[in-house]
Symmetry: C2
Subunit: 388 residues, 2 copies
């Protein structure tokens, strides 16, 4: 058994459970910090543990290009390489190939792409991505999927979905190790009928878990939520459900409310390095002059190392001077915030009070303005695909 | 009493002692990591303590410009601001004004300069620098000095020296707090007769400690060593001697051999962020391909967190990807190396074996090529003064 469902909310879909892996168990709902290059940017494994992070994600695409999967395998696998003895999930590289790499040529066979680092040419197949993830030794592996853009036509999205399904079958057949689990990825863009087809087809193949891919890539938020709802109803109760690329606090709360168990996103760590820190009232930027002489912690009552140790004025000063310690302290704060959020959510589910938690969260939390959010997201996606 | 001389080598000038400060005692010889902007770049106070660092240096010039001394005073002083409860030494800002700032106009009264950050104009006097350092609350303060370039004429260096003497007297008179000590700075460039004059004059005024300034600023190493020797013989036995701006392992060993008790330099932390790591054989760059598949630690037998936790291959990977964690891990390694060096030096002095330690150090340590070192130093000084 690699997933145990413990409780579902009586008045909704929110669930509490547990992933069981060779590197320990993971309480769900869970958020996975992103360690693209075998490092959650700026932090040591010890700091992640001090926060309480139970699992991290690493990107096969990045590690394939640097240092190369063979190097990590020789060094004893990814856990040993990055000195992290808790569970790891690796993605297949699909999303990065479609968002970061240049000159993609997709065929039924696989994807030809150029490295965003040195322009070198590479060809990835479903079989190869499983082989790479087996060499890395992650606890949870993901199938290779084709990721259309959020504004692609139904026809294009349908073709990508069909290909994703075939690739999922090939990944399944390619799996050799029995101590790792493989999750499928539901695609289908913003088209409910495609989402239905995709969920039905993939669940008929029988995977250890199901991810919802191709969302949070620039589409309006109400569409993201609608697509989650369309998909989740067709996924089996007994398997974990993983919403890929979602990491804003409000989106996590709404994802959990719709039956999601797992989330990952670089957002909490990326915005931290820009000075944007989470509070229960919303996101505030420490660079703001209001913090320049604030003697107390950035977030009064916060139990993170940063807020326990330093004043908001000191953190503001570090950001004013572009000191690397500032990026560290902000990253610690944001991951601690998200981890506390996940714990509060889980406790609320377990004692049957999730919907009142959801209400109280929304009563105080002011999310980033929707248009600003979309503009930022699209700008970021664009800067990535142009190789910045 | 703020300095206790414990032992002098029977066959040389190396000494072991102890600085006594309101924030605890500091075994000497000691190396002070540089925390220009109230942070030893990339590290937390906890990490410095884990290494064993007993004292750090902060730059009055930097803190005066950002966040402003008034802010730090309001936040409860520099110790509280940076969450460091061990001793702190602050410099006077003199060296930075003469190396970093633009448009200097020096008069007997003080120095007019423009900020290297925003071009704003500031006027610093000896009285003001003491006032600023009292507001910061450092355990050890430095007098304002005028720092000529290493290739300035005897006449120019003499004028700067005379001014430095007058400023030292004014600093002494300006001191109000009794829980801080003030050190004088011997100047005189590369001219032995000026070094003699400066040492005699300043010691006649009676300071708590004596620094040797205006060295390690681009002059050949044999001249640095000769000037140290010329100066030290004229300094009182019972006061600490501080060689400013020196931090290469081989220079520390030679400084100690000539009777120096204190050193500071940004070199160990700065070169760490470039990937250059110390070993007992010399400095090696982790970016070198030889480390790309090295399973063991960078420096076998090293007891630092980095070498205990990660392979050389992982550290190499972090530097290849410009991951911030790499800069942290390299900084930890270098400061740990220098701290171990200081401990070995002190133990050798205490058990009377310093000259054999010095021999064994040189038998294995291959210093950076002299010409490379000078070129790097001059290039770095030039890049600083052009505001990069």
């Amino acid at each position: 058994m690699d997933f145990r469902l413990i409780q579902t909310c009586p008045d909704g879909k929110a669930r509490a459970g547990e992933l069981i892996t060779p590197h320990g168990s993971v309480p769900t709902p869970v958020f996975l910090p992103v360690g693209s290059q075998a490092t959650v940017k700026t932090l040591t494994p010890g700091e992640l543990k001090e926060i309480g992070i139970p699992i991290v994600l690493a990107n096969t695409y990045h590690l394939y290009l640097r240092p190369g999967i063979g190097v990590i395998e020789k060094m004893g696998g990814l856990h040993k390489f990055m000195a992290w003895d808790r569970p790891i999930l690796t993605d297949s590289g699909g999303y990065q190939i479609f968002s970061l790499a240049a000159l993609r040529r997709v065929s039924d066979d696989g994807v030809l792409f150029r490295s965003h680092i040195d322009g070198s040419e590479h060809f990835i197949t479903p079989e190869l991505t499983v082989q790479l993830q087996e060499a890395l030794g992650a606890d949870i592996m993901m199938v290779l999927d084709e990721c259309p853009a959020y504004d692609d036509s139904l026809e294009k999205v349908q073709m990508a979905m069909t290909r994703t399904h075939k690739w999922a079958e090939r990944c399944q057949r390619a799996q050799k190790r029995s101590d790792q689990v493989l999750y499928a990825i539901v695609q289908g863009g913003v088209f409910p009928e495609l989402r239905h087809q995709s969920a039905k087809y993939l669940t008929s193949l029988g995977f250890a878990g199901y991810a919802i891919g191709g969302l949070s890539i620039g589409e309006p938020k109400e569409i993201t939520l609608a697509m989650i709802e369309e998909t989740v109803t067709l996924l089996p109760e007994t398997k974990p459900r993983y919403l890929m690329g979602v990491g804003a606090p409000e989106d996590i709360v709404e994802g959990v409310a719709r039956g999601i168990d797992m989330f990952d996103s670089a957002l909490p760590t990326r915005v931290a390095r820009n000075g944007a820190l989470f509070t229960w009232q919303g996101r505030y930027n420490i660079r703001n002059a209001v913090y320049s002489q604030m003697d107390g912690p950035f977030a009064p009552g916060c139990d993170c190392y940063t807020c326990r140790t330093f004043s908001a004025a000191y953190l503001h000063h570090l950001f004013s001077c572009d000191e690397l310690l500032g990026y560290r302290l902000a990253t610690i704060h944001n991951l601690n915030f998200i981890h506390n959020l996940m714990q509060k959510i889980r406790n609320a589910i377990l004692d049957g009070s999730f919907s009142s938690f959801q209400d109280s969260f929304w009563a105080s939390y002011q999310p980033t303005n929707e248009q600003t959010r979309l503009d930022q997201k699209r700008k970021w996606l664009k800067s990535r695909s142009s190789g910045q």
